[in-house]
């Protein structure tokens, strides 16, 4: 029963991450075929007759092909060119132990992110990356064990159990990475790489939700804008990338909660998968 509940709480977040991913890729895919967005050294094609279309068309003159020619094949933009911008989506799950006093439902405690990345090539082997994204983290608190997370604060008593209990926050993140590529002699694609860097986050909002069932009534209690969280966080991040997919390990260096409140801290390690948009 509890397991099912956990999956239910996980699925909407997965679906949301997938939706954002699809939207992101849709935008990129449109950019590849929209002739109006092509650079000046490429084609502006007006029409191409369909096979089987025997209608020779209007009597007005019509440009079928209009191609400016380039003799300079050096590009400045591309996956392995000096500059590159791409979108990314990320979904990760919390791993590792919590502090005493709080136990999480793993899998249902996770983080997703969407954002944009600028990559500056230094050489075939090295590049610098800057990320900017919106992150959402949620920690689903297990009710199976003794757990006094926030209870004394919100419920004025300790050791209370709920049907569900979770804490989360949204943050705007700015990250910087050094990328080391395993094939410096590759063509114009991302290749296999490892990213090492740090991400600083500004917590935009936080939320605490507890759901209880009392006398057949479902009671949802939600608290937002709480003063307990540190507004700034930073993580150390490592990624192992295979072109447009990367395995991500994040380790949170700062505490989520301000020291003065003495809340037990959530696990600091997250493992996830990042999918980048293709060009």
């Amino acid at each position: 029963m509890k397991k099912n509940t956990n999956y239910k709480s996980l699925m909407p977040r997965l679906q949301m991450a997938m939706l954002f991913g699809i939207l992101l890729f849709s935008v990129r895919a449109k950019g590849q075929t929209d002739t109006a967005s092509l650079p000046a050294d490429t084609v502006k094609e007006v029409t191409e007759p369909e096979i089987g279309d025997n209608d020779s068309g209007a009597t007005d003159a019509m440009t079928v092909i209009n191609v400016p020619v380039t003799y300079d094949f050096k590009k400045k933009y591309g996956p392995n060119e000096p500059n590159y911008v791409q979108g990314y989506t990320y979904f990760g799950v919390v791993v590792g132990p919590s502090d005493t006093g709080v136990k999480l439902n793993y899998g249902a405690s996770n983080e997703w992110a969407i954002g944009w990345r600028y990559k500056r090539k230094l050489s075939g082997m090295f590049a610098l990356c800057a990320d900017f994204g919106l992150h959402s983290a949620e920690f689903n608190i297990s009710q199976s064990a003794k757990n006094y997370f926030l209870d004394t604060t919100f419920w004025q008593q300790s050791d209370i159990s709920h049907k569900k209990e979770r804490f989360g926050y949204y943050s705007l993140a700015l990250g910087g990475f050094l990328r080391v590529n395993f094939d410096p002699h590759r063509g114009d694609y991302l290749g296999h790489y490892i990213d090492l860097g740090a991400t600083g986050s500004f917590l935009v909002s936080n939320r605490y939700v507890a759901i209880d069932e009392r006398r057949d009534a479902r009671v949802k209690s939600k608290f937002t804008g709480m003063p307990y969280t540190n507004p700034f966080q930073y993580d150390l991040t490592a990624k192992l990338g295979f072109n447009f997919i990367a395995l991500v390990a994040k380790y949170r260096m700062t505490d989520i909660f301000k020291e003065q409140y003495r809340f037990p801290e959530f696990p600091r390690l997250m493992l996830g998968l990042e999918v980048n948009s293709l060009d």
């Binding site: 084609v43 096979i51 068309g57 209009n66 192992l240 390990a249 060009d279």
Partner: protein
Amino acid sequence: MSPGRRLFSLLFFLFICSQVHAQTKYWVFFTDKDTTGFNPYAFFDQNAIARRQKTGLSLYDYSDIPVNPVYIQKVAGLSDSIGNTTRWFNGVGAWIGDANLPAVQHLPFVREVVPMTIHLEPTIGPINFDLPDDSELLNLQIERLQGRQFLEKGFKGKGIRIAVLDVGFKGARNHPAFTHLFKNNQIVETYDFIKHDSDVYHYGTHGTMVLSCLAGVQNDTAMGLAQDAEFLLARTERDMTEWKDEEDNWLAAVEWADQQGAHIVSSSLGYTDRRYFPYQMNGHTSLVSRAANMAAGKGMLVVIAAGNEARNSWKYICTPGDADSALTVGATNPKNDTRASFSSYGPSADGELKPNVVAPGYAWVADGVKYSSAMGTSFATPLVAGFAACVWNMFPEWTNMELYKAIEQSGYLYPYYDYSHGYGTPQASYFLTRKYNETSGEAPVKGKAATFHFDTTNYDFAIILHSMNSEDSTVIPGVDEKLVYYQALDTNGKIARYYVIKPGMDPHAEADKIYSPITLNWDEIPEHGIIRVFFDGYTNEEKY
């Protein structure tokens, strides 16, 4: 375990994984060869000997002598495994561990060790879109090249051996499109350069589709023109994945084709951003384009697909289509014979004219099980290779480069060209005229009658098209529309921009079918250049 140690363990694990994945393969090139005991008559097929003699090549050319087996054996002793050898470039592919690499590099007969990093990347499979499921394409892919004229005269590539390099020929052995090839023993030799056996009739069907555009048949109707040619089938590519050693397989297959006496190499494969940048498409950077040029140097006609990159960020010709001695084929929409929207653009990065010619890129093919429609420069290429086989059947005394030039001259745009269409679609009538009306041996003069003139009397620069009822029309039969091709050349004679225009009709003309003048847009034309125009078989140019 503390979180810090856990993180370190994870990173260490990821690092180990990445190291395992990034295995390195090397080309080991040698300083010399053992020239003693080389017998070309035993080494080469008779066709290969005849081709060399016709081209004036020595039978004892140094590049043809096999790699010294003692060298290979010594490298093998220091390697995990050995790959393909190349006699043309005097080397061998080898998987060498880091510990043994210095030992290999310091062998006295090793000239150079070049790493070949291998990548596993998904690639797009054979392009097969929902095109009309009828025989219209079948007629177009033959008629656009006037191929019926070759077939009626009995020029079907007899005596010509064509090597097809592809991802596999799954289903070809049992497909009715190829029954005649197997019945008449026209499949001379096969080799799988990945599995190293002779069974190429498995894995991908892309090669099957390509073969059908060379010599397939549906209900006694030819799908390609090389109906009587012989074939060498080589599998050099894995379907759906892309490994760098596939380039080495391609090189090995071309050398094999040379040894087996191929006259024509038809390859509908191209390599782009997984290994290269567009500026490297200059005909001498990639291994395969150097191999294509070498193959041409051995007397073979190398017909290569331009690539389907025009809609992608790459946009330009793929390698080995950038090789200057390769006959690079772009794709057209056979409806109006203009560039298909996916067909890669030229020129090559060093400014060479690419593609050289074009052919229908929408084709009716045998797909391993049934017949279907497909599109891509993959199918334009075998159509031209089959066309070339018919021409060589007609003029067996020609060398490969004479054939190359003649096919360019037979293009319906010739002498006009641009970087989408090259010289246009090759036309069989050019060769039949030359064969049966040959007097001086020179190419027939095309488009003698002027079909347009320039009007510069006003501020505007206009092209005035003559009546479309020209008796001297050389436009391709069956093309519904006569199109105007024109280009603006800068002061250095380089094409700056080119256009294809469907001319409009003058609504005020009393007589029917009078074209409206075409007024050029000055904003898109370089100053003090030249306007060159092709219309209805006639080419002329004007300074402005």
